[in-house]
Symmetry: C2
């Protein structure tokens, strides 16, 4: 019990610290959202976060607008990445390491792929029992300043 409590507290401290380090004022709502992200599977939608953060009775109620604002802020501060697999919704990925994805059109499942596997994709690193339908490499660039 005591252990569990300690773990929980130190987790919270970590979250608070991470927000601080990233230059994000750690408000109660943002902490609650960050907590949810920590305890969720890796790829989440805004709506999933909204549901989860308000389902549990602990912590503050968080409005939908705040969920969107906070997720957007986390993305801007590189704590999250946005993923667009179809037009109907945005996924947020808590793994900010360079990596890519397998998206299973049949199941909707989004699976990580290590970056270094890219050259071998077509040989052996596919998820089991799947066939490639389409490969899309999107490189987002910005104009050079100056």
């Amino acid at each position: 019990m005591m252990d569990a409590t300690n773990i929980h507290i130190s987790d919270l401290l970590d979250v608070r610290q991470q927000l601080n380090v990233s230059g994000i004022t750690p408000t109660p709502q943002r902490l609650a959202i960050a907590e949810v992200l920590l305890t969720s599977h890796q790829h989440v939608t805004a709506d999933e976060v909204f549901e989860k953060v308000n389902r549990s009775r602990v912590g503050p109620r968080v409005s939908k607008a705040t969920v969107y604002n906070s997720l957007g802020l986390f993305v801007k501060k590189s704590l999250l990445r946005e993923i667009f697999v179809d037009a109907s919704r945005t996924f947020y990925d808590t793994n900010t390491q360079p990596h890519h994805h397998f998206y299973n059109l049949d199941t909707g499942q989004l699976i990580d792929m290590e970056e270094r596997l890219v050259p071998f994709i077509l040989e052996s690193s596919l998820p089991e029992n799947t066939l490639v339908e389409d490969i899309e490499i999107m490189i987002r660039v910005r104009n050079q300043k100056q």
Copy 2:
């Protein structure tokens, strides 16, 4: 004048034939939409197609639902590819050859990248005066039947 007319007619025949070959019944609306795709830049949105197909007085009026249905059908029949660069809209790409994209976050421009350039991306094949912000490789898979 005569030349121009001939060219136009033969273009139409080609379009009709392409739809037939792809197993798409060539209705007047679908032909008009396919025409628009031929004479547009490579990456278009449903709304651009809708505007363009109805701006010219020749050909039938085409409803928005039919534009969406037809574009969806063309995608299913591999005459078009969908591209998701952000959550706000779907692009349709008339180039169905295997290839990828540069997306300029500053300008919204979508630029083709040849598939074979992928391994050299980070060296020299970037669009001029741009910096990489993010690379995303999306591999869409399907469950193996059987």
